[in-house]
């Protein structure tokens, strides 16, 4: 019995390994073959450019991060965009000319000597951005995570709205320009191999090299892989079990010794970490952090990826993330030009959020577990769970509470 199961397990493990290797090889050769793919008749028009692929992979990484919060721990976060913003602005602070009062260069790639501003190597800025975002996530989480699910959703939404407004308005904090207001911080330094890499024939700075998109794409894939790896490892750990236990029944989880606040805060903080890293990476790729990038729709867009792919399912979220972000960066425009070529004046990009909204509604109604359901979630979404929240501000201390549990 056990032997059989072991074999089944390792077979699944092997399948995953094969899938990962195939995808990695595809990612490696994609920048080379994309040109020929685009020449294929009919479908060629729909093949995403390497540039677009960077954006797709970055957003998928964020979706994986959000999935840890929503999918594993069952905490509906409608303000994930705030983490993206914190990550992007961290990159802006530590790797641009924003603070031109000083001139610090610490291993930054492709920066001329004496350039004003703080220029820390982007490789360092990525984890720093993750860590700062994690702190922000914890700070947001501690007062709010005791709230029940729908209240938490609205409070996270609130933070998602406050953060961009703060960055928009923080260009004059008692005379100090923290965020450069509506103009955003630009240019943000590029990733690159620096002088050492240049000596080996690798690009010193990705942005200045002719293969900018290709290098960013490869490293975006690396970051996605690391995120997926951590996400899977955590899911199968003591902490991951506690998250899922909380998602299924808070009261029972607490009674089994799971500290609710701490465990939820970890979900939030770790989800924030990856949002921050992805945000900083994206800021470096785009070369800037702009307040207009961080609006509520992005949070919903990310949520839609998670729901489309399958709440809690890593493979599902990757699929959902790639699919939707493809539609977002290129797909809808491509489809639009195809439609317009037939003479119809319809522009799907204008209605993209209506489309995402419809996807959310249709998925919840007809396939709530997503395209690739998580093994356990499938049953839960179809049959419903016993999920009376533990901190129930509505009913705690009311008669119904007592009636519900005592007879």
């Amino acid at each position: 019995m056990t032997g059989l199961r072991h074999r089944a397990w390792s077979a699944a493990g092997n399948r995953n390994t094969v899938a990962v290797v195939v995808l990695l090889v595809l990612a490696l050769i994609y920048p080379t073959i994309v040109g020929s793919l685009q020449l294929v008749p009919v479908i060629g028009d729909f093949v995403p450019k390497t540039d677009s692929m960077v954006v797709m992979v970055v957003f998928t990484t964020m979706a994986i991060g959000l999935n840890m919060v929503v999918g594993y721990a069952g905490l509906l976060d409608l303000g994930y965009v705030a983490f993206y913003a914190v990550g992007a602005y961290t990159a802006g602070w530590f790797a641009s000319q924003q603070f031109s009062q000083v001139s610090i260069d610490f291993g930054a790639a492709g920066i001329p000597d004496g350039l004003p501003g703080i220029h820390i190597s982007m490789w360092l800025v990525l984890p720093v951005a993750g860590a700062l975002t994690m702190l922000a996530g914890t700070a947001i989480g501690i007062p709010t995570l005791r709230l029940r699910g729908d209240y938490l959703a609205i409070v996270t939404l609130g933070f998602g709205e406050i953060v961009p407004q703060v960055v928009r308005n923080a260009d004059n904090v008692y005379g100090f320009d923290l965020t450069h207001g509506t103009f955003g911080i630009t240019p943000i330094d590029s990733l690159g191999f620096g002088a050492v890499g240049a000596a080996l024939g690798l690009p010193e700075s990705f942005r200045q090299s002719s293969d900018r998109a290709q290098w960013y794409f490869w490293f975006a894939v690396v970051i996605l892989l690391i995120t997926v790896f951590c996400s899977v490892r955590l899911r199968d750990s003591r902490l991951g079990r506690a998250w899922i236990a909380i998602r299924e029944d808070e009261t029972a989880a607490a009674a089994m010794g799971v500290p609710l606040m701490r465990t939820k805060t970890w979900a939030y903080a770790i989800g924030a970490f990856f949002g921050g890293v992805a945000g900083a990476f994206y800021a470096s790729f785009k070369g800037g952090a702009f307040p207009a990038d961080f609006y509520f729709n992005i949070s919903v867009f990310l949520l839609c990826m998670v729901i489309l792919g399958g709440v809690g399912s890593v493979w599902g979220v990757i699929l959902g993330g790639m699919l939707l972000s493809y539609l977002n960066v290129e797909g809808l425009a491509n489809i639009g030009s195809t439609i317009q070529a037939t003479g119809l004046a319809f522009d799907p990009t204008k209605y993209q959020f209506g489309i995402y909204g419809s996807i959310i509604v249709l998925m919840m109604l007809f396939r709530p577990a997503g395209l690739i359901p998580e093994r356990r979630h499938r049953v839960e979404m179809e049959e419903g769970v016993h999920d009376t929240p533990f901190y129930d501000v509505q009913r705690e201390g009311t008669l119904t509470d007592r009636d519900g549990s005592d007879d």
């Binding site: 490892r233 003591r238 009261t251 029972a252 010794g257 609710l260 970890w266 005592d406 007879d407």
Partner: protein, 258 residues
């Protein structure tokens, strides 16, 4: 002087205007099996919920093993050594039976974030040991197989057994069982009673159970306490309780007496 594992004094819980537990004094002797009985709505589960920190008492004190637990969050109380089951089974239905038990071990394990991501040898060993122990507990509780099945798909009796296994996984000194034999047939109930005694003896536990079935109460418990409308109306050995007039009245209505 007897050794009390639990010492409850003047425990009171009000919901709005309703008094769910009315200044209850209550003790549980270490190593004993005690039943809490009473008609529907007598405040038994509310009492349990205060013991485990799910509800904050309005006033009163609960000493567990000499420690005041009122005001502690539920997980800290569990870590002190109170494990429980629920009246309406509350398993993590979409986790496997094994995972359910592993969640019960949460406070006994130490795997941190980085350790889990890198699967350090220490975490690996701890996980392996935990799984081994979880399987043993499952077998011990009468679930020799189906460890990898989703808890929600197990038959009812197995779910009850799994709840006990999960509660035992928290390594409790005191085991709280909330109507553990509800829905069991007489055969299963008898097995269960034997099991509770065995657990108590082999794991040196103290057991406090809420029970409706008088046969179970008489069969398993050494003492019982009777609640009615949130008040303690009687206390003593099952035999004494059985002949107590107020208890009979509470259970069968006024007309039944004399």
């Amino acid at each position: 002087m007897t050794d009390h594992l639990v010492e409850v004094t003047q425990l009171r819980k009000e919901f709005g205007g309703l008094v769910a537990t009315n200044d209850i004094d209550f003790t549980v002797e270490r190593g004993s099996i005690v039943s809490l009985i009473g008609p529907n709505g007598a405040g038994k589960t509310t009492f349990f919920n205060q013991l485990t920190g799910v509800y904050q008492p309005t006033s009163g004190s609960i000493l567990f093993d000499g420690v005041e637990v009122v005001g502690m969050p539920p997980h800290a109380i569990t870590a002190l050594g109170i494990g429980r089951t629920f009246q309406n089974i509350r398993l993590f239905a979409q986790m496997t039976a094994l995972e359910n038990v592993l969640v019960g071990m949460h406070s006994c394990l130490h795997g941190g974030i980085l350790g889990s991501i890198f699967r350090t040898p220490k975490v690996r060993r701890e996980e392996a040991a935990a799984r081994e122990k979880a399987r043993e507990l499952l077998v011990y509780s009468g679930l020799p197989k189906r460890h990898e099945e989703q808890a929600g798909s197990l038959p009812y009796g197995d779910q009850r057994r799994l709840e006990v296994a999960r509660a035992l996984a928290t390594d409790p000194k005191l085991l709280l069982l909330d109507e553990p034999t509800a829905g069991m047939n007489p055969q299963e109930t008898a097995t269960f009673i034997a099991f509770v005694r065995r657990v108590r003896d082999e794991k040196q536990l103290t057991v406090l159970l809420i029970e409706h079935d008088m046969k179970v109460v008489m069969g398993v418990s050494e003492r019982c306490t009777v609640l009615e409308y949130g008040e303690k109306i009687a206390e003593g050995t099952p035999a004494v309780i059985q002949s107590n007039e107020r208890v009979i009245e509470a259970y069968l209505g006024k007309g039944a007496v004399g």
